[in-house]
């Protein structure tokens, strides 16, 4: 299983039936493909859809039914459309249970940086700041290190923040980490890495729970 699928599959296990979930662009979008059988979540997209369904068959795309990344999607029976103000009432008002987002950096205080690299990449924050501030639970789904091998998990973010202290859980291909007021608590670790290796690849001090589990590969 490739790392992205592994991360997405693990994140998908965090949901409970009835959860309203907003998935960010990129890796987080993959999470929709791994929802466990018997769990029914409702996907929200900030461009104004509730009840997103699977990707349309090729040739069946409707140009007016897209997600917030402009990819074609579908809507399930019982879904609905609304305007942007209503969409962010849902998001900012705490009516979205979980948001899953990627990160450039995340730190042990739950700070998140995922919207710009000064002087280099300034796409704008889109709906990310509202999602991270408003959703009841914020899960970061990302590869553990940057392409050059640097750690994305730090004592303190150095890039401009998306939100302060809002991250609840970090899921990478190496581990599942919970943000606590004592620091990052490792709940699960991948079978192909040791605690020491994980710590060495992480820019913040890790705490390991006594009930540390092996991070399961999805089937």
């Amino acid at each position: 299983m490739n790392p992205k699928a592994k991360i997405a599959a693990r994140v998908a296990k965090e949901f409970e039936s009835g959860d309203v979930v907003n998935l960010g662009i990129g890796l987080p979008t993959l999470v929709a493909d791994f929802i466990p059988q018997g769990i029914e979540v409702v996907f929200q997209s900030e461009n104004g859809i509730l009840g997103l369904g699977p990707s349309p068959e090729e040739g069946q795309e409707d140009p007016l039914i897209t997600n917030a990344g402009a990819q074609p999607v579908t809507i399930l029976p019982g879904g609905c459309y609304f305007d942007s103000a209503t969409s962010f009432m849902l998001i900012r008002g705490g009516h979205v249970d979980v948001t899953v987002l990627g990160a450039l950096q995340v730190d042990e205080k739950g700070n998140l940086a995922n919207w710009m690299i000064p002087g280099k990449m300034v796409p704008g924050m889109g709906g990310a700041m509202d999602l991270v501030t408003g959703a009841k639970r914020v899960i970061i789904a990302m590869q553990h290190c940057t392409k050059s091998g640097g750690s994305k998990i730090l004592e303190e973010c150095t890039l401009p923040l998306t939100a302060q202290g809002e991250v609840d859980l970090i899921v990478t291909e190496c581990a599942v980490m919970k943000v606590t007021n004592k620091g990052l608590l490792v709940l699960e670790i991948s079978q192909d890495i040791t605690k020491e290796e994980l710590q060495s690849q992480t820019g913040a001090k890790l705490i390991f729970t006594e009930e540390l589990k092996i991070m399961e590969e999805a089937i």
Binding site: T66, A68, Y81, V122, P123
Partner: protein, 217 residues
């Protein structure tokens, strides 16, 4: 007096230095015909208010490409490389705003409210230089209401009085912009008689819409 105008009459409403809200989300629910007509009119120095700057050849991105925008207040420019170039060169000003804040600032202007009190952006550069108000021990940024000279919006259908309905994900910023500009022009795919839209299903009430333009398919 009929609210229905043609593209020439639309062009006659335009001038340099306008602040213009444009509906749409990455080119979905965008008034493409009006956007093209603005380019043809030759006006410049637009202050643009929109969710995103679309793509170089789609949506308001076309205005960026043509360099007729002086300043854009928007939440996302990442899908339009031309925006990034002009931001880096300093040719165009970009005021990047969280999407929910932008939506609510526009709504506040349309609702006669002075601004909004949002938790979004606290502790980030989005809060810099802004007043912070504490309510029940929680901090909120005071963001001012945002209005414009004109709003160009897209609906699927209008009746002759100006009532609008939208379809699917093409609703987005259009209904709130209809409240927030001095002159509101709606591009639609279809115009029907007054009374043909179920009054329970009207999303934008007639009185907000000044002009209706039938879009070019």
């Amino acid at each position: 007096m009929s609210k229905i105008i043609n593209r020439q009459e639309f062009a006659d409403l335009l001038r340099d230095d306008l602040s213009i809200m444009v509906g749409g989300f990455l080119g979905v629910g965008t008034p493409e015909s009006l956007i093209d007509a603005v380019i043809e009119s030759g006006i410049k120095d637009i202050t643009l208010i929109c969710n995103d700057t679309g793509f170089p050849d789609k949506g308001v991105g076309k205005w960026i490409t043509k360099k007729i925008v002086k300043k854009a207040i928007t939440s996302h420019i990442g899908t339009n490389p031309e925006s990034g170039n002009q931001l880096n060169s300093g040719e165009t000003l970009f005021d990047l705003t969280p999407q929910g804040t932008l939506a609510e600032q526009i709504r506040a202007a349309g609702a006669g409210l002075g601004g909004i009190l949002t938790p979004t952006g606290i502790g980030t550069i989005a809060a810099e230089g802004k007043e912070i108000i504490k309510i029940k021990e929680k901090e909120y940024i005071l963001e001012e209401a945002l209005s414009a000279d004109m709003a160009f919006i897209k609906a699927v259908k209008a009746d002759k009085k100006g009532n609008l309905v939208y379809i699917k994900a093409a609703r987005n910023f259009n209904p709130i912009m209809a409240f927030a500009a001095d002159i509101v022009v709606a591009e639609v795919d279809e115009i029907v008689e007054a009374g043909e839209i179920d009054p329970d299903n009207v999303v934008t009430p007639s009185v907000l819409v000044d002009y209706i333009v039938l879009g070019v398919k």
